[in-house]
């Protein structure tokens, strides 16, 4: 059933990571990503891995959940690794079979790449797992608010994003209903030839679009009735207040980043 699809992959909780100011979390995640791509050695990667493990443990989210976000990317990872193994032509030959030659450096590069991407996925999942989409939108709006001076429609984009988030469950439910209704009239949606299925998709999409427009229209009126007039002079119920823990988290992240840079410089010689 469509209803079972979870959107945004947010796992409510009250861990330290959950409670961090979302603005800090976004900045920290960005630093983390840069950190992963700065380090070129296994030691740097190890530092990144330690950092990730600590963060995951602090979030109190089951490691299984992170596996869920890595899994869909596995085929991609494996293909890239195999290509790397076959195409890298430097280093000692470790194993040979007919024309296939596996070199030590190829193994290093493949492993390095896989670990790096897995860490990247885990790190960014941690952000979305511990921050609700709406909070995330809000934080992005505030981080980008200096751009307002350049006439960049920050508030409008954030409002669109949050309305979209609000209506995703409603529209999913609606799709479910329309699908059942058309199936009851004999439309083949899960079975039948490709052509019939495509044709039958129209019987779902047309009502869905019509309903979405009707909703948009009614929502716009309702928003006007509640004095909506853009971002100007708006106050907010959701207050983002940074606490000492946010600064500490940021400092720790910078410390790790510093360590990675230091290791990179030292190992270069």
């Amino acid at each position: 059933m469509l209803k079972d699809i979870t959107i945004g992959q947010y796992f409510p909780g009250n861990s330290l990571i959950h409670r961090l100011d979302p603005r800090f979390k976004i900045v920290i995640t960005l630093i983390f990503i840069i950190m992963l791509f700065t380090g070129k050695s296994f030691l740097c990667l190890a530092i990144g891995a330690v950092y990730t493990v600590i963060a995951v443990l602090l979030s109190k989210i089951k490691p299984k959940m992170f596996w869920k976000s890595v899994k869909p990317l596995l085929p991609f990872l494996i293909i890239t690794a195999v290509l790397n193994l076959l195409l890298v032509s430097t280093g000692d030959i470790v194993w040979e079979w007919k024309f296939i030659k596996i070199r030590s450096e190829a193994i290093d590069i493949s492993v390095f790449m896989i670990v790096r991407i897995v860490l990247l996925i885990i790190g960014s999942s941690l952000l979305t797992y511990t921050t609700s989409p709406i909070t995330l939108t809000d934080a992005i709006e505030r981080l980008l608010s200096p751009l307002k001076k350049l006439k960049f429609p920050v508030h409008e984009l954030a409002m669109m994003m949050s309305i979209a988030l609000r209506f995703i469950p409603t529209l999913i439910e609606e799709t479910d209903k329309i699908m059942s209704a058309q199936k009851a009239r004999g439309a083949e949606i899960d079975s039948g030839s490709f052509m019939t299925r495509t044709r039958n998709m129209i019987s779902i999409l047309v009502p869905l679009f019509i309903s979405a427009f009707r909703r948009a229209d009614e929502l716009a009126t309702a928003m006007e009735c509640r004095c909506y007039h853009g971002g100007e002079g708006r106050t907010r119920l959701r207050q983002l207040k940074s606490a000492p823990r946010d600064y500490i988290a940021l400092a720790v992240t910078i410390l790790f980043f510093g360590a990675v840079i230091a290791v990179s410089i030292l190992t270069k010689k």
């Binding site: 469950p169 909703r215 929502l219 009126t221 509640r226 004095c227 106050t235 907010r236 119920l237």
Partner: protein, 287 residues
């Protein structure tokens, strides 16, 4: 107490089409005044103009001719639009299509955010409004987890937070199940009783109108009946002619009266009806 809503000779039609043909009037000269604190039901079948009228009370529509004032503000005065909308809040039929935020309490705060109410004050008003409609414990829920009746109560809380003098509800229960209808009506009545908020309830459910102070019946863009519920409902013929129901008890009394029995036509509750029938039977015994 003075009148909060004054409608004088209100005419309205939608804009002319491309060929310059003027569509017919949807509202044909409405005169109506509503007192502060009154609970008024506006009844009529679909297309009688009742929703169009409601939209005039909130300046979603502006009269083609005539005048609408709400709490002394002329609805055509664009400079006072927010002032007006703050004093006369509006709740719509579809509970889903008026909730903006993914979190209940933020939705209730939406109007206050737009009006620039400072945080401390906003927090207080949001909590009070949610408590007033018995939805406080759901303040951190997502609207998609709520039933229709609960969503509609959230929408009402979002209006109450503006501390309006008047709430206009456009068929707020049409899409709800009986349980949801009861919850929403109870909330509306409480707002009227406890906060003295004027209520204009647009509906086609007769039983909802039976509990009001006053019933205004509309047909073809005009007010055809106006009075206390028992007086209005006693005009069974007229109501049926314009496609409206009357409560079953009123209909029974009317039928019995038509058959020549001496029974009051102004019966609108079950108790009144039972008492009246009891009287009929005791009388025959005396005879």
């Amino acid at each position: 107490m003075g009148n909060i809503i004054e409608i004088e000779d209100l005419h309205f039609h939608y804009e002319s089409d491309a060929e310059g043909n003027t569509p017919p009037d949807v509202l044909k000269g409405i005169n109506l005044s509503i007192k502060q604190g009154e609970f008024v039901a506006v009844l009529g079948h679909n297309g009688c103009g009742k929703s169009t009228l409601a939209k005039h009370l909130n300046a979603i529509l502006i009269p083609t001719s005539g005048k609408v004032t709400v709490d002394g503000i002329d609805t055509s005065d664009e400079n006072r639009l927010f002032d007006l909308r703050q004093r006369a809040g509006m709740v719509f039929q579809n509970p889903d299509n008026q909730i903006v935020s993914s979190i209940v309490e933020e939705d209730v705060a939406f109007a206050l955010e737009n009006l620039g109410v400072p945080y401390e004050e906003m927090r207080k008003r949001v909590d009070e409004s949610l408590k007033a409609v018995n939805m406080y414990e759901y303040r951190l829920h997502s609207p998609s987890q709520l039933s229709g009746g609960q969503k509609q109560r959230v929408a009402i809380a979002g209006i109450i937070a503006m501390q309006p003098k008047c709430i206009i509800l456009d068929e707020p229960t049409a899409m709800l199940d009986p349980q949801g209808r009861k919850e929403v009506l109870a909330a509306i009545h409480r707002m009227n009783r406890e906060k003295g908020i004027t209520i204009v309830l647009i509906t086609h459910y007769m039983d909802e109108a039976a509990d009001c102070d006053r019933v205004v019946v509309m047909d073809k863009g005009e007010v055809v009946l106006d009075g206390i519920p028992s007086k209005v409902f006693s005009q069974v013929d007229k109501l049926k002619a314009i496609g409206l129901d009357v409560p079953q008890v009123t209909e029974l009394a009317w039928e019995l009266r038509k058959a020549g029995l001496d029974i009051s036509p102004e019966i609108i509750t079950e108790d009144e009806c039972a008492a009246a029938i009891e009287r009929l039977f005791s009388r025959t015994i005396e005879n």
